[in-house]
């Protein structure tokens, strides 16, 4: 069985909702982690890791998720694949809600994940072939070994040379390609890449990114690409979602966000990105300090403690994610874009 001749991965879960149905819809996803302490280990406080996150991913799309460390990107990813149990919210995969029509096991057939640490995500005692074949074997797919071999050649590793090697015997870039093959062995439709290229050096990163782009086209995959590197996200993604302290602050098409960042936080993220263009120097000062404690996030808009445009309304009223009138599909959660919010500078174009 050669994977290169098919347009989707062999034995991929069949499409249920049709092309118009978003592959993944997330509604009001919430996860609070208890901070235990005291003699009896009772929950003393809650870390609001993910607080009311909603978004959707269309079929064949690549959604990039960006944000600072600790903003809930990775927790969101773990919630989506069921590695962490959600407190509240809905996860709808191809029209079927997790827990209703869709079991966790079926969800994991359709969604797979690639982790940041290429070494820790491979069992040191299994050969590369066994690691890749494991998932297919567990899912009862036929010919797991043949599948592993064809995926190995697809990601550029000669099965004859690499199949019986151990993870510590190959390089970091090769390991991450093994991890990609391992994720694809279960023929998922959605692949979550959690900082999948962040630990690689630049030349290897480029190779892996190109491989990811090729695989997406070849197998019609959908990606959720989590990274802190905006350039990498721009290269791979169709849309970008910006998270801050467990909330979505802005989401929109790559080009729209690249040309105009609607949320002050997004703007700070972009201004912190080194620019290669002498005409486009960093003028606004990037953010300073750490994000506030997610145990006790600021009232109102969570960003107001670090925002240059903060006003009294920002300290009391939490902004909602609203579509910008000029650019459809581009949403931001900021009072500056809501004329009804009561912010003195609301609606003034050019400021925000």
């Amino acid at each position: 069985m050669s994977a290169t001749e098919t347009t989707t991965l062999p034995d991929s879960p069949e499409d249920k909702g049709g092309p118009g149905q978003a592959l993944l819809i997330v509604k009001d996803l919430r996860k609070y982690f208890p901070v235990r302490g005291g003699i009896f280990g009772r929950a003393q406080a809650m870390v609001q890791a993910v607080d009311g996150v909603s978004f959707s991913v269309e079929k064949g799309e690549a959604l990039g998720i960006v944000g600072e460390s600790g903003c809930g990107k990775s927790t969101t990813a773990r919630l989506l694949i069921g590695l962490t149990e959600k407190d509240e919210g809905e996860i709808i995969f191809d029209g079927q809600g997790l827990g209703d029509a869709l079991s966790l096991r079926d969800l994991r057939r359709g969604v797979q994940m690639v982790f940041q640490d290429s070494y820790a995500s491979l069992n040191p005692r299994l050969t590369i072939e066994e690691s890749i074949a494991f998932g297919a074997r567990v899912q009862g797919l036929d010919d797991p070994v043949g599948r592993a071999h064809s995926l190995m050649s697809r990601v550029g590793l000669d099965p004859a040379r690499f199949a019986s090697r151990y993870p510590h015997e190959v390089s970091g870039g090769q390991r991450q390609r093994i991890n990609i093959a391992r994720a694809l062995a279960m023929s998922p439709r959605l692949v979550i890449l959690d900082e999948a290229v962040s630990a690689l050096d630049k030349s290897v990163e480029a190779q892996v990114l190109n491989l990811l782009a090729d695989l997406r086209e070849e197998f019609g995959l959908t990606y959720i690409f989590i990274s802190h590197d905006l350039n990498v996200v721009r290269y791979i993604s169709d849309r970008i979602l910006v998270m801050y302290l467990g909330e979505v602050v802005e989401v929109g098409p790559v080009d729209a966000i690249w040309s105009r960042q609607a949320h002050p936080y997004t703007r700070s993220l972009f201004s912190a990105m080194p620019s290669m263009d002498p005409d486009n120097r960093t003028k606004t000062p990037p953010l300073s300090g750490d994000p506030p404690n997610p145990i006790d996030p600021p009232k109102g808009c969570r960003f107001h403690t670090r925002c240059r445009f903060a006003d009294s309304v920002c300290k009391t009223k939490a902004p909602r994610l609203m579509e910008l009138p000029q650019t459809p599909g581009h949403l931001a959660a900021c009072h500056l874009h809501d004329p009804a919010s009561g912010h003195p500078k609301a609606g003034q174009e050019g400021l925000a």
């Binding site: 773990r78 694949i81 069921g82 590695l83 966790l104 096991r105 994991r108 057939r109 969604v111 797979q112 994940m113 982790f115 940041q116 640490d117 820790a120 995500s121 491979l122 069992n123 040191p124 005692r125 299994l126 050969t127 072939e129 066994e130 690691s131 494991f134 998932g135 567990v138 899912q139 070994v145 071999h149 099965p159 004859a160 040379r161 199949a163 019986s164 090697r165 151990y166 510590h168 015997e169 991890n179 391992r182 994720a183 279960m186």
Partner: protein
Amino acid sequence: MALVETSEAAGPASAQSGYWSGVARRLVRDPVTMICLGIIVALILSAVFAPWLGLADPYKGSMIARLKPLGTEGHLLGTDEQGRDMLARLIYGGRLTLFIGLMPVVLAFFVGSVLGIVAGYAGGITNTVIMRTVDVFFAFPSVLLAIAISGALGAGIVNSLVSLTIVFIPPITRVAEAVTSGVRALDYIDAARASGANALTVIRVHVIGNVLSPIFVYATSLTSVCMILAAGLSFLGIGVRPPEPEWGLMLNTLRSAIYVNPWLSALPGLMIFVTSLCLNLLSDGVRSAMNVRD
């Protein structure tokens, strides 16, 4: 070792055999470990095949031939306080001593590994229940615990086995739990869970192979302690009962003869010392042979 070109299906067993053959190769190159292994194997073989070695009857005493010194005609290692042949008693004594010295560790290795791996993998309330129960046993020194349980159950071989097994389950569970929680936090366990495998499959394929060698090495280091404890129980009269030959018991009964024939009384102690030393060195050797990279 992994450059072999192979295209046929290979189960998880091949990874294990590749690893174990490397361990064996490193062990063979270690002379101290090999000598210790040789002594232990010789002791075990002589104990197992004792009836076929043409030895004197270890139970038959003689009132006129009591406490003969080493090198006596017909009694190479002398006779004990009842005139029984020491060589025969030492070799026959190896049967019981080695059995109740090793068996509890083997049993505790299985029970403790299961408890520790379950506790470490499951975490949460399961972990708390198992580990706090284990902690109760940790509150007592192992010698005291062994004496207390043996004393409560009464003397006898089976009761000694049970009490020593109970003594060694808590430390092995501790080690197993610690190693398993470490492995549990690694991404490949998450990746395996995310592939839809159930907990048993994840433990079987991904956890056991990565936790068993440290637990095993720790357990081998306990065998010498167990030998000494078992001998100690017999010495105190709550282990093996006379007239069974057992090194700890022999040490006790020959104690009174120490002024008459000191070398003779030292023989069972020497056997305990050599065996436990060899077991210790052997476990050290196995530990370094198992350390592949880190």
